[in-house]
Symmetry: C2
Subunit: 319 residues, 2 copies
């Protein structure tokens, strides 16, 4: 994975350009990642410094050729991003995403940004940008109907049937957890909390409570504080409970997206959230299969690259 | 309502000492408010400057006698307040509150702080401090079973039967509305919103949506943003929707406190919240009767004063 190797063997670069993070890989002829770089130069930063300088600096650091093509997903395609890539409307075949990619004007390289997905119905307007590429990479080629859970700041739950996104819902669970932990009266309750995982009894109990009575959500949140006040619960317990309530409430809502509890759930996640959601889904009686989110986005970008540049990518892969 | 009048006729002073606000009234022999002062010297401020100086400064400004007794409710009785007044455990007769008042050591005056209420069961721990006095003043003498809705930063819903508090639940609606409006991605959606009231169509619709599907609460919150993005909704509409979602979710939860939709609801509120909740309760099919929150706390403090000092208050009232 040295610069020399990457430079020679890379067929294209793939970038996941989020709001606050930037990740790029050089991809070789068989689809393997030859080199990876990550930084905090997300859309918010790049909108000030310029997108092209950020991209070129990372490509140069990895020894990429001047003409290496680049495929990008994420917020770089937002209106406030580099070049607006718009939205593909649901229901949408994941394989169609690439046909709506926009070309970034550039003197040397072929740079494409993938579009997001939009659900425009009046009752449930929703958008995603970046997750569509994870979907393409994780479930785009699978048959049958499944729910895909993509936890994060704004968790997405997606119903996919035979490679087509039927509908999806964004839940603000991650951001609410963060905002409530930092800015509400519960900030005192969770201050100095230690680490916990999905097996923590307070987490497990909270998932069940929120699922059993979602209408009481904002009351259950208050019990994080009152439980500490009256029952002496500790900070770690409070934080685990707060996390479990947010995730349990999300799963209660997501469960309404299918009438069939046997619908398989693909959990596209990495890091600590993967463990928390795996436990929470099990507690909710849902079968889930974990797909690494990093692999999913890389696989989605690779699928897009194969469709965008069949001559240089697929042919070379066959060598 | 001049200082001269107050000074002569006052039988006691009554103070509602909250976290961030302080209100005090001089009360005459028939229970009428002779004088009123309000300030931002709530518990948070007074804990630094001292509680006694704040109280004495306001009493002096109103021309109160040096020996005028004072009855106080609210956060002045919290652990981090002036003198801890503890909690009366539920189920609790509202008339019992006064028997658990604590005496503040003072050389000249008889100063009492009323206790809060605590619900100590493991599943639904909850506390209130200040609202118990509003309950005493508004429904303490009424027979029958009713729900009392007390909206605010931490809304309280209380089931009261024949003057006894059976159970209650705190909902973080007001604080969540505030925190989400200021610190989440929705802050952009509601920035520069104009005024709205409970008849705004976006408010009415949001109440209904949250009540119909409370499990989707954190998704419905996200639609405040996605509705703006995809359907061009304005900031005032977004803010009205956010408010309606929080209140609708609260009512959906509170409705689980009674099996009987015919249970009357007393709405103890003042200011804009009185209008919003009146409309929301009507939309939810609940009959509500509005009680002014200011009058309720003053009447509750008056009831406490009559019980605390029957000789000086009740006898004088009979003159």
């Amino acid at each position: 994975m040295t610069t020399t190797v990457s430079h020679a063997a890379a067929r294209y670069a793939a970038a996941d350009w989020g709001t606050s993070s930037f990740r790029i890989w050089l991809i070789g002829e068989t689809g393997e990642a030859l080199s990876e770089r990550r930084s905090a130069e997300g859309m918010t930063t790049a909108a000030k410094t310029g997108f092209s300088p950020v991209l070129e600096q990372h490509l140069e650091a990895m020894g990429a050729a001047d003409t290496l093509p680049v495929v990008i997903c994420g917020m770089a395609g937002a209106r406030q991003g580099w070049v607006e890539a718009g939205y593909l409307d649901t229901p949408a075949a994941l394989s169609d995403i690439v046909r709506h990619a926009v070309v970034v004007p550039d003197d040397r390289r072929d740079i494409r940004i993938l579009p997001g997905l939009a659900q425009r119905d009046a009752a449930s307007p929703d958008v995603m940008r970046g997750e569509e590429t994870q979907l393409l990479g994780s479930v785009g080629a699978l048959s049958g109907t499944r729910l895909v859970c993509m936890p994060g700041t704004h968790s997405k739950w997606v119903r996919v049937a035979d490679g087509k996104v039927e509908r999806f819902s964004t839940f603000m669970s991650g951001e609410l957890f963060d905002v409530v932990s930092r800015h509400s009266i519960l900030s005192h309750a969770v201050a100095d909390a230690g680490a916990f995982d999905g097996t923590h009894p307070a987490f497990v109990a909270a998932v069940a409570e929120a699922m059993a009575n979602p209408a009481m959500a904002t009351n259950l949140l208050f019990t994080v504080r009152s439980g500490q006040l009256l029952h002496g619960h500790g900070a770690t317990e409070a934080k685990a409970r707060l996390s479990g309530l947010m995730i349990g409430l999300e799963i209660a809502g997501a469960a309404t997206m299918t009438a069939d509890a046997q619908t398989p759930v693909s959990l596209v996640a990495s890091g600590p959230l993967a463990g928390l959601y795996t436990q929470a889904l099990t507690a909710a009686g849902l079968q889930s299969q974990l797909v690494d989110a990093d692999e999913a986005v890389r696989d989605g970008l690779a699928a897009a690259a194969r469709a965008l540049w069949p001559a240089s990518v697929q042919t070379l892969s066959a060598v």
